[in-house]
């Protein structure tokens, strides 16, 4: 960790990721992808579905390795999984044989906290995501949105320095989403964490982020980067009615529209 | 399903272990081609596990069994009539061996407090052992018979001193004598030894069949008798080496001269004519009924447990 105190949190340098497609020839999910996330920076990533967002996050976590290029976290090249990273998966990844609270306690216990401590903070976090009453339920007894919230608590509880989130709020109703936004921003500002936030909700992206990356239709590369300078602290609920906000969303929307159309054109071909 | 050989001369005979010398005549007859000479189509099957053979015969899966005569008595007690048609041996071919770790054992009288190896608790080795001990003035319970099977397990048991003495057959005997791990205490491979030990001849290996089948297929049985008696004559008139010649080599590949030695030492146990020796059945009955509670209080008609009709007709 002591490599360079000043190094950015995440660097992707000309990264490419290829997969063997069933037809045998290789399919490129990401090509020459370059992105830098500074310490304490909040980055939102938007892009057409299937362009390569999740794959990018996987590269940062170390769950997957780039086919080419280099991925650096805190200045050091990624090898294996880095405990300073927190990752909210796009798909459900709770442990079905553990109750809700046991699921949330997993992180702290893995990291050597005492059972008591773990339980205490798990309780706290379950309350924050509004699942205090469901402590003893098993995942399959929860609704989709509830499971997602458990996953959030499971990640937040570890107070990660780097927080990667893959469409974390898409399964939540508008208001719950707002509440979660506030939790997220609190955590972010308290812990000075660096956040990469993948979403399909432009307004969400703009409301939360310092920078919004727009990706091209797969193979993903950075199409354009928008720096959002709306004043902080932001009140997510109201910000969406401000003019500058609306302008941002108009432009990014247009920008993205192009991409999706190209991707469809290609798919059709 | 179960096949009963009809008038056709296709017969299956279950042998309690091809390679065992006590059942030598079975394979030898085949090797010498005597069955063919009699125009018989005999199929020998291998079944070392002993008693299963009888059940399979009674169930009609096979017509004859080459095994110990005492089963004929057992079965009669159970209401099944089986008779020995050709009596191979007049001695059990068993030997009571004493582990060389225990020279103090000089006679069965010294079995007190010892563990004695037998092939199985239901087996004739067990009754013979008990009979010997009791005959020498011990009481049941003053010694323990330990079922150790035959072959390697028997040897292992003796090496591990799990048994101080034990009764077994060839080739285990020769092996243990050769390695000097054991010495012969009582040799029941010969008439004399047997007489001395049991007070009479002890008919053991024999070909027996269900009585009604025999009565229904007299000519077939006659042919069988011819073949086997011829074989017994051959054994009687040839040396161990010559006999070994004729046997499949897999049977002595382990240790050839041992096999031959064993034959020379053991071939005396075989009858020359396949006839049930005088007083033999009685000896067996006394030995068995002394210890087998299934037999106690049962009336056994020995004359129904064997027939000399066929072997007598062999010319």
């Amino acid at each position: 960790m002591a490599v360079e105190k000043t190094a950015p949190a995440i660097e992707l340098i000309n990264v490419s990721r290829r997969f063997l497609s069933p037809t045998g020839k290789s399919l490129t999910a990401i090509r020459d992808f370059t992105m830098t996330v500074g310490r304490g920076e909040f980055v939102a990533v938007v892009g057409p579905t299937g362009c390569g967002k999740s794959t990018t996050l996987n590269l940062v976590t170390g769950l997957a390795r780039p086919s080419a290029g280099e991925v650096r976290v805190m200045g050091a090249p990624v090898k294996g999984i880095d405990p300073r990273i927190g990752f909210v998966f796009q798909t459900d990844a709770l442990f079905p044989w553990r109750t809700v609270i046991e699921n949330v306690m997993a992180g702290p216990l893995f990291r050597g906290k005492s059972k008591a401590q773990a339980q205490a903070s798990a309780r706290d976090w379950l309350a924050r995501v509004g699942l205090a009453r469901f402590e003893q339920h098993y995942p399959h007894q929860l609704s989709g949105g509830m499971r997602k919230r458990v996953a959030l608590a499971q990640t937040f509880i570890n107070g990660p320095e780097i927080l990667l989130m893959d469409e974390p709020f898409s399964a939540l109703d508008v208001q719950t989403r707002v509440l979660m936004h506030e939790e997220l921003l609190r955590l972010w500002s308290e812990a000075k964490a660096s956040v990469v936030f993948v979403t399909h909700d432009l307004e969400e992206a703009i409301a939360l982020a310092d920078k919004v990356y727009v990706l091209t239709a797969g193979p993903a590369t950075v199409k354009s980067v928008y720096t959002i300078d709306l004043p902080r602290p932001r009140v997510v609920a109201d910000i969406r009615y401000e003019q500058s906000f609306i302008d941002y969303s108009r432009t990014i929307w247009a920008d993205l529209k192009e991409e999706v159309e190209t991707s469809y054109a290609r798919a059709a071909a | 399903g179960a096949t009963t050989a009809s008038a056709a001369d296709k017969i299956s005979i279950m042998v309690g272990g091809y390679e065992k010398q006590i059942y030598l005549p079975a394979k030898l007859a085949e090797a010498l081609g005597y069955f063919k000479d009699e125009g018989l189509d005999v199929e020998l099957l291998n079944e070392p596990a002993g008693v299963d053979a009888e059940n399979e015969m009674l169930a009609g899966a096979v017509q004859g069994v080459v095994g110990f005569y005492d089963h004929c008595i057992d079965l009669q007690a159970k209401g099944k009539f089986v008779e020995s048609v050709v009596q191979f041996s007049q001695a059990p071919g068993e030997v009571e061996l004493v582990s060389s770790k225990h020279p103090e054992i000089k006679s069965p009288a010294d079995f007190k407090g010892m563990s004695l190896g037998v092939t199985g608790l239901g087996s004739s080795t067990n009754f013979l052992t008990e009979y010997l001990a009791v005959k020498n003035g011990l009481k049941l319970g003053e010694f323990t018979s330990v079922p150790v099977g035959a072959g390697n397990t028997f040897i292992a048991a003796m090496q591990q001193d799990k048994i101080q003495a034990g009764m077994t057959t060839e080739p285990t005997i020769t092996r243990l004598l050769k390695t000097g791990e054991a010495a012969v205490l009582i040799d029941m491979r010969t008439m004399e030894g047997t007489k001395a030990a049991l007070g009479g001849t002890y008919p053991a290996a024999s070909l027996y069949m269900q009585t009604e089948w025999v009565d229904a297929h007299k000519d077939t049985v006659q042919k069988l008798a011819n073949a086997f008696v011829k074989t017994l004559k051959f054994i009687n008139t040839h040396s161990g080496a010559e006999i070994a010649e004729k046997m499949p080599k897999d049977y002595y590949v382990g240790d050839q001269e041992g096999y031959v030695k064993a034959l020379d030492a053991g071939k005396a146990m075989f009858t020359a004519d396949g006839v049930m020796p005088q007083g033999g059945p009685e000896t067996v009955l006394t030995v068995l009924s002394a210890f087998k509670k299934e037999l106690q209080g049962k009336q056994i008609d020995l004359s129904k447990t064997y027939t000399t009709e066929f072997v007598k007709n062999v010319k």
């Binding site: 976590t61 769950l63 999984i81 405990p83 990273i85 927190g86 990752f87 998966f89 798909t91 459900d92 990844a93 709770l94 442990f95 079905p96 044989w97 553990r98 109750t99 997993a106 992180g107 893995f110 990291r111 098993y138 399959h140 007894q141 499971q154 990640t155 570890n158 | 002993g50 008693v51 299963d52 009888e54 059940n55 009674l58 169930a59 057992d74 079965l75 159970k78 209401g79 099944k80 199985g120 608790l121 239901g122 087996s123 323990t144 330990v146 079922p147 150790v148 099977g149 072959g151 390697n152 397990t153 040897i155 292992a156 048991a157 591990q160 799990k162 087998k292 509670k293 299934e294």
Partner: protein
């Protein structure tokens, strides 16, 4: 998996039914089901034994070979009251059980540990599993005398035989179970900071649990078989010995009686195992075709 989670979605009620009522109804339904099951189990048993008895008495089958339930029961009674010719029945049972249980425990532990280890390590798996699979094809009856030569006639050799009966079945399931563990879950655990060992303990093994149990269910029966095979080849006590003697004296009833004893014991073991399993599996959703 089990009756643990009562299924209250079968009945249909008018609006405003109180929870109490609904739960009561649910309990009732479950109880009713249980009774039906027990009834049929018994029915089958009785019919089977009945036919057997009749077939025996009518001499459709020869009781000399196949005995009859009545004679078997008689022999069991005799054994339990007066003991066997080789000593008290309980002792024989005790001996066999000692061998089986030891073999079962060691065998399944080894199977699980090695199975999980190889399941986690692809290279090692490729290298060793081939040997494990091949060794598995050695007839246990052949191993028996070898074990007795090496380990002696005592407990050890029988345990070893039970072990080799159990190990392979458990190994294969544990191994495959590990391979089947959900990738997403593994990934999540790692991200949450699980060490290799923690990962194995709290993700891999739990998700392989149902695999392991599936194999344990067969294994105990196999353990008993192993012990008995060992006793066949040479032993002073044990059910295997009883079977052998019974056969040696054409005592079909005795043989089947011994088998019945083995079965009863197996049944007990099965029951215990199911208990444990249903405790461990209480997190599971009911299979869909049972929730409607």
């Amino acid at each position: 998996m089990t009756d643990a989670t009562v299924n209250i979605s079968t009945a249909s009620f008018r609006p405003g039914t109180s929870d109490a009522e609904i739960e009561a109804a649910a309990a009732k339904a479950a109880a009713h089901r249980r009774h039906a099951v027990i009834f049929w189990r018994l029915a089958i048993l009785i019919i089977f034994l009945g036919l057997w008895e009749i077939a025996g008495r009518m001499a459709w089958i020869d009781p000399f070979f196949y005995a009859m339930p009545s004679t078997i029961a008689g022999r069991l009674y005799e054994w339990t009251t007066q003991g066997t010719s080789e000593g008290p029945l309980w002792y024989h049972l005790y001996v066999t059980m000692e061998e089986s249980v030891l073999g079962f425990v060691t065998g399944s532990v080894a199977g699980i540990v090695i199975g999980v280890a190889l399941g986690r390590n692809r290279m090692a798996a490729d290298i060793f599993s081939i040997y494990i699979k091949v060794i598995n094809s050695i007839p246990r009856v052949v191993l028996a005398p070898i074990f007795i030569m090496i380990l002696g006639l005592g407990l050890a050799s029988k345990v070893a035989l039970a072990f080799v009966m159990v190990f392979f079945v458990v190994f294969h399931n544990a191994f495959q179970g590990v391979r089947e563990a959900d990738r997403a879950m593994i990934a999540n655990a790692r991200i949450l900071g699980a060490s290799d060992w923690q990962l194995t303990r709290s993700v891999i093994v739990p998700s392989a649990m149902s695999w392991i149990f599936a194999s344990l269910h067969v294994s105990f029966g196999f353990a008993i078989i192993g012990a008995i095979v060992g006793e066949f080849v040479g032993s002073r006590y044990g059910i295997g010995l009883l079977i052998n003697i019974a056969k040696g004296s054409f005592d079909a009833a005795g043989m089947y009686a011994a088998i019945v004893i083995v079965m009863v014991v197996a049944l007990g073991a099965e029951y215990l195992m199911t208990l444990v399993e249903s405790r461990l599996a209480k997190w599971r959703p009911q299979p869909l075709h049972e929730t409607q």
